[in-house]
Amino acid sequence: MDENSTDMDENNTESVGDEIQSTPIDNDSKAVNIGSGVRVDGRIEGAETSDISGTLTGTLKSSNININSKGVFSGDMSGQEITISGSVDGEINSEDYLIVNNSANIKGVIEYASLQVSYGARIQGTLRHRGSVQSYSPVSTDEVKEDEINENHEGDQ
């Protein structure tokens, strides 16, 4: 992200130069850091860690996501380890664990494998456990039902 590039470059040029000389890329940290007061619209993919203290609207795919207490996110996010302390409006898809702190305010659909919510957090929406969801609505059943309905209609005509 451009917003944090000055910060990141300062931190990383040193470490890259000292330790990982074989890497030709300047910044290989795969980190996204949106500071408070910064607004970003768009799609972020391939990040390893994302720290959001500003406002992000769009899609975020990152293995590790932190929406800090000042952070505001709207859109779809997916990752493995997600921690929410701020505000989220949209879809959260966590493959590993999702931690919702007491300052969090979430509206939308949450799909999770392991969920921890602190007393005081506000969640408005739908919770779906990853393991269960797949067994509840297998695609094949829907297809069969549709086929049956179609056949019935044909029969009627």
């Binding site: 919702v100 969920l115 921890q116 919510v117 007393y119 969640i123 739908t126 919770l127 779906r128 456990h129």
Partner: protein, 126 residues
């Protein structure tokens, strides 16, 4: 409480009291082997380990591990360690790691421990 005399025989329940005076608190304990079809209502405290299909209403409800409730649960404070299929409405809801919930949850404050399996719609109301 007289209805469930069998469960009151367990003396260890008394040790769980965290209130000043026993006499002012009505605590009911429903054991594992109890199955209810219908509604269960209390003004104070229910420790529930059985199976219930219907409605459960009290001030404080503890749904113990192994318990199963299908229907509507209303209380000020609910702790869920068992399985619920239906609607839960409470001011404070504590969902423990052994809990399994399907349905709707209406709450003011919620606390969820990791390990619990929840497939539900959450409604926050202040």
């Amino acid at each position: 409480m007289a209805l469930f005399g069998s469960s009151e025989k367990k003396p260890e329940v008394k040790t769980e009291f965290m209130f000043d005076t026993e006499s002012t608190i009505n605590q009911s304990t429903l054991a594992k082997d109890i199955k209810i079809n219908g509604s269960l209502e209390s003004t104070d405290y229910i420790d529930f380990s059985g199976h219930l299909t219907g409605t459960l209403k009290s001030s404080t409800i503890n749904l113990k591990p192994g318990s199963y409730v299908k229907g509507t649960i209303t209380a000020d404070t609910i702790t869920v360690e068992g399985e619920v299929d239906g609607d839960i409405q409470a001011k404070d809801i504590y969902i423990k790691s052994t809990a399994k919930i399907k349905g709707n949850i209406r709450y003011q404050n919620i606390d969820i421990q990791n390990g619990s399996i929840i497939n539900a719609d959450l409604f926050y109301s202040s």
